[in-house]
């Protein structure tokens, strides 16, 4: 074992073991109690509103893909997309999914097709619902801005790993009076989402929303494990603060560097 990584390894192994146990617990039927997320509760009425107005819904998972550090966020975004596609099928609303990565095209088409079938409108689905304009961010932004101005969607949804396109999407949504929904754990955009969006998922709520939408016991078990893990981190922080206040930070340092 490399010096300085033993403590790290112990924490990691405990985390893996803990998460496995909670996943097994959830798979055994004992699902955790997830608090209600306002965005998910209002999703039905929001898409219903789009149906009444006869305008489409625009959805994007943002800059990230499945190959980079933002894969987790993209996966959560795709999970929410599946639910949105089902609801759009139920209300017979056009759902336009703009993706940034080429490999998301077949995945998106698959998700939309399945969603519309579950919603009871398989004939509405068409591959044109998924748009890909290349992996250049300005091109992606330009397409979305143009779509907003020409098609004037009633709802704008941005869930995933969002980057600078958030500015332009929120701007255009405000201009066409679309309802703005967004969710990303990315630090930079928490304030913008909180200020500009009608409903948003802040921080980890995106992962929780993705898990509760799919009702996948594995994901839900992980959510519960993550909460316990966070409690453990808070406990460590408190202990570290006490040790540091007492002037014993060397003890902690030697433990961390063990």
């Amino acid at each position: 074992m490399l010096p300085g990584k033993n403590f790290d390894l112990i924490i990691f192994l405990l985390t893996v073991a803990g998460m496995y146990l909670f996943m097994r617990k959830a798979e055994g039927g004992r699902l955790p109690n997830i608090r209600s997320i306002p965005l998910l509760e209002e999703l039905d009425s929001i898409i219903g509103r789009a149906a009444e107005m006869g305008r489409p819904v625009h959805y994007t998972t943002g800059y990230g893909g499945l190959h980079d550090e933002w894969a987790v966020m993209c996966v959560a975004g795709l999970a929410i997309l599946s639910k949105v596609a089902e609801m759009c099928g139920k209300y017979r609303v056009w759902l336009q999914f703009t993706c940034f990565r080429g490999y998301l095209v077949p995945i998106g088409q698959d998700i939309l097709k399945t969603g519309y079938e579950k919603g009871g409108a398989p004939e509405m689905y068409t591959p044109d619902m998924v748009t890909y304009v290349g992996e250049d961010q300005p091109a992606y932004i330009a397409y979305i801005m143009d779509y907003f101005m020409t098609e004037r969607p009633a709802v704008s949804m941005v869930f995933g790993a969002i980057q600078a396109e958030m500015n332009n999407i929120l701007m255009q949504a405000a201009r066409v009076n679309a309802i703005s929904l967004a969710g990303t754990p990315r630090l930079y955009y928490q304030g913008k989402m909180a200020l500009m969006c009608d409903y948003c998922l802040l921080g980890e709520e995106l992962y929780v929303a993705g898990a509760s939408i799919t009702s996948d016991p594995v994901h839900l078990g992980c959510i519960e494990a993550e909460d316990w893990f966070k409690m453990g981190i808070i406990a460590l922080l408190v202990i570290a603060a006490i040790f540091t206040t007492l002037g014993m930070e060397n003890v902690l340092q030697s433990l961390i560097n063990w």
């Binding site: 990584k5 077949p106 044109d128 890909y132 290349g134 600078a164 405000a174 913008k192």
Partner: protein, 202 residues
């Protein structure tokens, strides 16, 4: 051949290198192999660009063949792609010309960072609650801390702006960084256990 097409093979192909890299991270054993594996990640990243190019050609090629919506722009995409691609290899001067006089101005126009932000705050930044007011006040102090004119108007802008940066901002950033890290670990655990299959398109 049939096993290669199965989901389990893809999961094995994903999990084994992951476990190896973790093993190398904690033990330091087989460092050259781990470095080479990471380099192969870069090579695969390049291959994903080929997939992206294929998707682009397929989508827009189909649009041209069916004379679908705005098919003429699809033709422009093809011509631009081929010109840029050939120029990058054959003529670096032409490549630089395209970069300096076409691509960069277009990118800057689309970014329109300042304009987009202004329109965004002008149209959408509405304080619907007391927390919204607090958020806006915090942002005003932060903006005026960064602008050289802020401390000239009132030195308190710098003091309060720095406090906002050093105390509540730091606390929130730490919290969200920890949360993101926890989410990453959870995904890693699910991937190691083979429970995470969204990358396979499920």
């Amino acid at each position: 051949m049939s096993f290669i097409k199965q989901k389990e093979f893809a999961i094995i192909l994903f999990v084994l290198p992951l476990l190896f890299l973790l093993f190398n991270y904690y033990t330091g054993i087989a460092e050259p192999a781990a470095s080479e594996l990471i380099n192969w990640g870069s090579y695969l990243w390049n291959f994903s660009m080929i997939i992206g190019t294929y998707s682009l050609f397929r989508v827009h090629g189909t649009n041209i063949a069916k004379k679908g919506k705005d098919w003429s722009y699809s033709v422009v995409i093809f011509i631009s792609f081929v010109t840029y691609f050939v120029a990058s290899y054959v003529s670096p001067d032409v490549f630089k010309l395209i970069l300096d006089y076409i691509q960069t101005p277009i990118m800057l126009t689309i970014w329109m960072g300042g304009f987009a932000t202004l329109t965004m705050v002008f149209r959408g930044a509405r304080t619907k609650s007391y927390l919204g007011v607090l958020l806006l006040l915090g942002s005003i102090f932060t903006v005026l801390r960064m602008a050289p004119i802020g401390p000239l108007i009132w030195p308190g802008f710098h003091t309060i702006g720095m406090w906002i940066n050093d105390v509540p901002n730091m606390a929130v950033m730490r919290a969200i960084t920890i949360v993101m890290g926890v989410g990453l670990i959870a995904t890693l655990v699910r991937e190691i256990l083979g429970k995470e299959t969204h990358y396979l398109g499920d």
